[in-house]
């Protein structure tokens, strides 16, 4: 049962990911990216990471991809025109990536990971919240400052002056 759900989600992720990088229309790529990110949220649920699944849907699907669609709309020069969507290196890139994939799969299957005993699935929100406010409070504050600086920087860069 769980394995079946995993294979369905994996198929959705891989197919939509391939479509993200191969579709001609960049707007369709953005829609496929949304589907792919939903699949990753499903993988998080399968891994008992309920908080992360919610964050994935809220931040990635609701935030980042909408931002990308905005950017596509603003810089729209793609429909109706015949332009190349690839540079001159997809074939060497594909070969290198294929060998990298084979290397990764071989090394993953040959490594013996020390898998812990199966833990009971538990709600993770309280644990993550407590960890963020105690052990990880400094990275948490730093990342909030980084986010603030990045957003102000984005406004300054894109401002029409």
């Amino acid at each position: 049962m769980e394995l079946g759900v995993f294979y369905i989600l994996a198929a959705v992720i891989v197919v939509s990911g391939l479509l993200v990088v191969t579709l001609k229309n960049i707007f369709h790529s953005a829609l496929m990216l949304i589907l792919c990110l939903f699949g990753v949220a499903g993988i998080y649920i399968l891994l008992h990471a309920d908080f992360l699944a919610a964050v994935q849907v809220l931040l990635y699907v609701g935030g980042v991809t909408i931002l990308m669609i905005f950017a596509i709309m603003v810089t729209h020069q793609l429909t109706g025109k015949k332009i190349k969507h690839y540079n001159e290196q997809p074939v060497p890139a594909g070969l290198i990536i294929l060998s990298l994939l084979i290397l990764l799969i071989v090394s993953i299957t040959r490594t013996a990971f020390e898998v812990a005993d199966k833990a009971e699935p538990m709600p993770t929100v309280a644990v993550i919240g407590r960890a963020l406010m105690t052990d990880y409070v400094l990275p948490f504050e730093v990342v909030s400052v980084v986010l603030l600086v990045a957003l102000i920087g984005a406004i300054v860069i894109a401002r029409r002056d």
């Binding site: 992360l52 603003v74 994939l101 993550i128």
Partner: protein, 102 residues
Amino acid sequence: MATLEHYLILSAILFCIGVFGLLSRRNAVGILMSIELMFNSANINFVAFSKFINPDILTGQIFSVFVIAIAAAEAAVGLAIVVLLYRNFDIVNIDKINFMKW
């Protein structure tokens, strides 16, 4: 029962798709999308290791939260740069943008 290797191989495939898009796309927004795919594959790895290796303290999930925050910041700055390039030079294709190369 899906094992750790299943998740790691899925994440490896997703990462390779992202790298392929990064290397072969011309459109800057497409490249940013490929980077998002790579961030997601790293996140799958973090969460899978967190569940299978050390399920009690959830360090991997906390790292994933940080990765998602950094990815949001990266997307905002990257798209601002794309908009600026389009406004100043009327292009969004990366291979045309070589003004700093000599």
